[in-house]
Amino acid sequence: MSSTVIPFGPQHPVLPEPLHIKLVMEDENIVDAIPAIGYVHRGLEKLTETKEFTQNVFVVERVCGICSVMHAMAYCQGIEELMNIEVPDRAKFLRVIWAELHRMHSHLLWLGLLADAFGFESLFMQVWRDREKVMDIMEETAGARVVISANTIGGTRRDLTKEQMVKINVTVDEIKHDIQQVEAVFLNNYTVKHRLVGRGILSKADAIELCAVGPMARAAGIPMDLRTTGYSAYGQLDFEPVTHSDGDNYARTYVRLHEVYQSIDLIKQAIAKIPDGEHVAPFKGNPPKGEVISRVEQPRGEVLYYLRANGTKNLERLRLRTPTFQNIPSLIKMLPGSQLADVPLLILTIDPCISCTER
């Protein structure tokens, strides 16, 4: 049978970002998928070499607006390790609270986009309305909605007052109630399940071989979550990674939906356990000669920062590897054999963040 090549992207209604995939088709079935990237490449890693290491916090936050807190967190943790800065306990808990709020907004955003991808417009609107409550908390506590600049080297730039924490506690409860309302639609609705169950299967063996990370790996049954290594204040909180065994679209939806509940639980635990004290530690001088690797768990999986300093105020090298880069091989594995109508959903279920990947 002769094959047809269909270009998917870079401008496509289902993707907020430009990703280009050439789909080689036989009838409705995909036989091959060739990704092409580079539409969002800016040269951010080179830029960080010309800025001071304190300014770089703001640069790495703009690697990706959706997980900006985690990028800044990974970078700050790296510099702190390099310079031997003791971060106050309160700052660690504050970082966890903001990071988990960010994870919530990212997962809710994804659930909305998923609903939009299978054509359930009102569900998309519903989830995004619930997400605005998280954005309101961010604005109230940090002064901005998306890129909130909460982290700084040695701690956090702001502190939370008691009243703000009470309010966060009440609001996350409200969000939990709201998400419970839509949970049944995502997980039990006949039509929705028809689009999700059994589509885009990534087996556990494939996930290990292709180095899938984050919800992709957890949905395939690998309980891999960097938060369990106990960085920041996660070591003092009680949680288990959310996993599912099927590895299909449904499993990935299940994992992300339940991670919203997990984040709510973590925020409540952190607020209950947060100690009094300073929220930022002072430091002097430049990072000494040396190199360090810093890893944190982002909404999309593990991000790795490699920093090399030479004793001056500029870093010699900053290299980052982002979760979407890790997950694209799994996507290319899932695409052949599926139908054209499922392509938007398959691409969406890896939760692609192209601006992270290309920087």
Binding site: P10, Q11, H12, P13, P16, E17, P18, G38, Y39, V40, H41, R42, G43, L44, K46, L47, T50, F58, V59, R62, V63, C64, G65, I66, S68, L109, G112, F124, M125, W128, R129, E132, M135, A144, R145, V146, V147, C353, S355
Partner: protein, 149 residues
């Protein structure tokens, strides 16, 4: 007012293209369309096809690879059309203006009518930018009429 100019004014259709944005402005553009900010009450609908669109919302700065994609989308839109540059990156290149692969603001690639500043631009500012764009759309339509097109 004829039916075309009336519907253009009352219900402009927008298309969104992300150049090299960090996603911050993109998700704020989407947030504009959702219930809290609800740009649809102004008749604004997000479409995927440039041939249906009146207003092009661009986030992020242009780079060497996406410049022709942006030009392509712009050229496919029917006249009259308006371009709204959203966020510091789309206006001037923002924090990335010194990067080796960034050509600066999208003004270097296509003509821009409205600039919305901010990093990230707030939904209120984006809606304000779109509403100003509707005014520009009207002026352009009148100019076309005078030319007899």
């Amino acid at each position: 007012m004829g039916i075309i100019s009336k519907s253009r004014k009352k219900s402009p259709w927008v298309i969104h293209y992300d150049c090299t944005s960090c996603n911050g402005c993109d998700i704020e553009v989407l947030a504009c369309l959702t219930p809290l900010y609800d740009a649809e009450r102004l008749g604004i609908i997000n479409v995927g096809n440039p041939k249906h669109a009146d207003i092009l919302l661009v986030t992020g700065s242009a780079n060497k690879r996406n410049a022709h994609v942006l030009k392509n989308i712009y050229n496919q839109m029917p006249d009259p059309k308006v371009v709204v540059a959203i966020g510091a990156c789309a206006c001037t290149g923002g924090i990335f203006r010194e990067c080796y692969n960034v050509m600066g603001g999208i003004e270097n690639v296509i003509p821009v009518d409205v600039f919305v500043p901010g990093c990230c631009a707030r939904p209120e500012a984006i809606i304000d930018g779109i509403v100003q764009g509707i005014g520009k759309l009207d002026e352009k339509a009148d100019a076309m009429k005078d030319e007899g097109k």
